[in-house]
Amino acid sequence: MAEGPVRTGKLRGNLPPLDLYVPEPRYRPGDTVDYTHLEIPEPGLLARPDEACEAQETWPLTLDMVRVLGDDDQAVGPWNPGLDPETLRRMLSTMALTRAFDDRMYRGQRQGKTSFYMKCTGEEAISIACAHALAADDMVFPSYRQQGVLIARGYPLVEMVNQIYSNRADPLKGRQLPIMYSAKDYGFFSISGNLATQFPQAVGWAMASAIKGDTRIATSFVGEGSSAEGDFHAAMTFAAVYNAPVVLNVVNNQWAISSFSGFAGAERTTFAARAAGYGIAGLRVDGNDILAVYAAMEWAANRARAGKGPTLIEHFTYRAEGHSTSDDPSAYRSAREAEDWPLGDPIMRLKKHLIALGEWSEEQHAAMDRDLAEQVKAATKEAEKNGILGHGLHHPFHTMFEDVFEELPWHLQEQADQAIRERQTKWPEWKE
């Protein structure tokens, strides 16, 4: 027998067949929920490293959880930011306002006033604490669930509603899906529906700030689900390579539409632990504890401003409602999950803390809720004067063709002319 070419490799034996592992969440609709597997440390136990520390000093924290507010409603430990009662009350009312706004806009969508809405119920602490911990002109590159940042920074509610209704006063001229706000004057980047694209952009903004010798920093948010995107790796790599003054946040709310966090790798390790692979600082916080979130954001912001580079923060929380108005979570997860969530509700926790401090009361809280509901109602009434989606009051027709380029090229001018001709047939009663 002629000798064949020499090949290396073991001889094929009697090997077992391979089997693809596909993650499955613990609970499905109708299941009872048991959260004893979650390791939730007592508040106040974790040390707070110096903001200028070596990145690796933070890595044990990425496998743990920074918590400040305990079950006894007291704020404890080295991460307690020691905020004055006035600031605490402001954060409380901003969270409550965000929830009231969400509730009203959700109903507005159900009443046919717009096409779409996304609530952030249960996650209010994250964006609102971040907005308070940052400087007012630090730049935020949000995902679609950081409406709390805009509200905390004082963006007018009526402008938000105008955007949601895509009406004639919509600052984005009716071009964007509801809630995809853009507010440059409030340091709030235009929201994209393409997930995680904002992460490397925030790093680029932070690099630009460093190039220019500015003092402002950038921050960005992604969900745990979209941390699986290549953009996440791009952002982390660039942030690490250029020591960018940026705070990168993963809001781990457990669910990406119907896909549980296991599909982004949560069964293996925490999202914060990814920081170690890039050699940057990382923190993992109780995302329903507004004091812990504030402390983590403040720590990371100070670190970035001191030229010590980026931090990755995982905010451990729970998406208490559907992904959006187009989603029905009862079709894929147990309703008990939200009810039994062991980290509670961020508004209730801060409220109880303020009451425990003697700085707040149930009566004050109820009165505040009534005021906020009125405030939201007034904003929606005001916005409705400018129209609701599909009822004829929107931006002038020709604005559809503007801003594709700075100047209108001939081919778009021709298409605009056609659209106007079509309008005369389709909607002869049209008035601008």
Binding site: A183, F189, D403, E406
Partner: protein, 350 residues
């Protein structure tokens, strides 16, 4: 040769450059004029780029403004979008057009849409430079011409120079433009024009008319084509490397063709094309990129829509084949003199 750029008509001192030198000169001038211009990309810093387009710029302007990047095109374009949001004017280099795809989402969904979706609050005045096209034995991953992917995207401009003179003026215009621009550099003609005959000695740019580059700042407006040669018998619409191939083939065939170098595909100078076809009654569209859904399809359609009653023959297109760019059979793929010659013969037979 008709030169429409007024700068060349006055007496600005000029010198002969190849296309790399002209691009380097444009970058140098813009870096000096505008402190917001930054250059980033793989190997563009200390080394000066694999094609040397950014040579010397880091040394001159510092590491803060000219720097190497990780090998991550998504990150390069994504960071550039963020820098633009800050107020900078980034000029990222993608080392080969074939490598641009990991950055596609950031270009298509972000850079191109930012002005529209934010109603003008945020803009992305980014110029993405990238060598493209074949003819250098680059195989299928260093030879592609993906311009049609970008001309299809609302909000992107696509610019392709064919001479050192134009490369400098167009690049300056692209950097100053407030919209994102894809600037594809035909790498086969970096060092000299190419007549399509791969087996003939290559010619350097030195001394040739298109290589005479004025000193200092000048712009060639985007959306203004160049009539390379006036003629009455046939209109040839093309860009990049194929401008030179077309020139050589038609000269050899002795056809009195009007050759139009588009310079930019979006915005497109349709007036120059229309006027020419109305005069000649015949039109040949040439590009190196693959055929199906190529930019040639757009050009042929526009000519048919606008010049039908002037046409004396079907509009022809000559393109690369719908295969990946083969390494050993590069010259079988390339739309060279034989393929162009056949189309010219068909058009001129009546």
């Amino acid at each position: 040769m008709i030169e429409e750029n007024p700068v060349s008509l006055h007496d600005a001192p000029s010198r002969s450059m190849n296309m790399i030198e002209a691009i380097n000169d444009a970058l140098d001038i813009m870096m000096a004029r505008d402190p917001d211009v930054v250059i980033m990309g793989e190997d563009v810093g200390y080394f000066g780029g694999v094609f040397r387009a950014t040579a010397g710029l880091q040394k001159k302007f510092g590491k803060n403004r000219v720097f190497d990047t990780p090998i991550n095109e998504c990150g390069i374009i994504g960071a550039a979008v963020g820098m633009a949001a800050y107020g900078l004017r980034p000029v990222p280099e993608i080392q080969f057009a074939d490598y641009i795809y990991p950055g596609l989402d950031q270009l298509v969904s972000e850079a191109a849409r930012l002005r529209y979706r934010s109603a003008g609050e945020f803009v992305a005045p980014i110029t993405v430079r990238s060598p493209f096209g074949g003819g250098i034995f680059g195989g299928q991953t260093h030879s592609q011409s993906p311009e049609a992917l970008f001309t299809h995207v609302a909000g992107l401009k696509t610019v392709i120079p064919a001479t050192p003179h134009d490369a400098k003026g167009l690049l300056i215009a692209a950097i100053e433009d407030n919209d994102p621009v894809i600037f594809f550099e035909p790498k086969r003609i970096y060092n000299g024009p190419f007549d399509g005959y791969y087996d003939r000695p290559s010619r350097p740019w030195k001394g040739l008319p298109g290589s005479q580059v004025p000193e200092g700042y000048y712009k060639i407006p985007l959306g203004k084509a160049r009539v390379v040669r006036e003629g009455a018998a046939l209109t040839v619409v093309t860009y990049g490397t194929m401008v030179h191939v077309a020139e050589a083939v038609l000269a050899e065939k002795g056809v009195d063709a009007e050759i139009i170098d588009l310079r930019s595909l979006v915005p497109l100078d349709i007036d120059t094309v229309e006027k020419s076809v109305e005069k000649t009654g015949k039109c040949l569209v040439i590009h190196e990129a693959t055929r199906t859904s190529g930019f040639g399809a757009e050009l042929v359609t526009l000519v048919q829509e606008r010049c039908f009653y002037h046409l004396e023959a079907p509009v022809e297109r000559v393109t690369g084949f719908d295969t990946p760019y083969p390494h050993s059979l590069e010259w079988a793929y390339f739309p060279g003199p034989v393929r162009i010659g056949e189309a010219v013969d068909r058009l001129m037979k009546d």
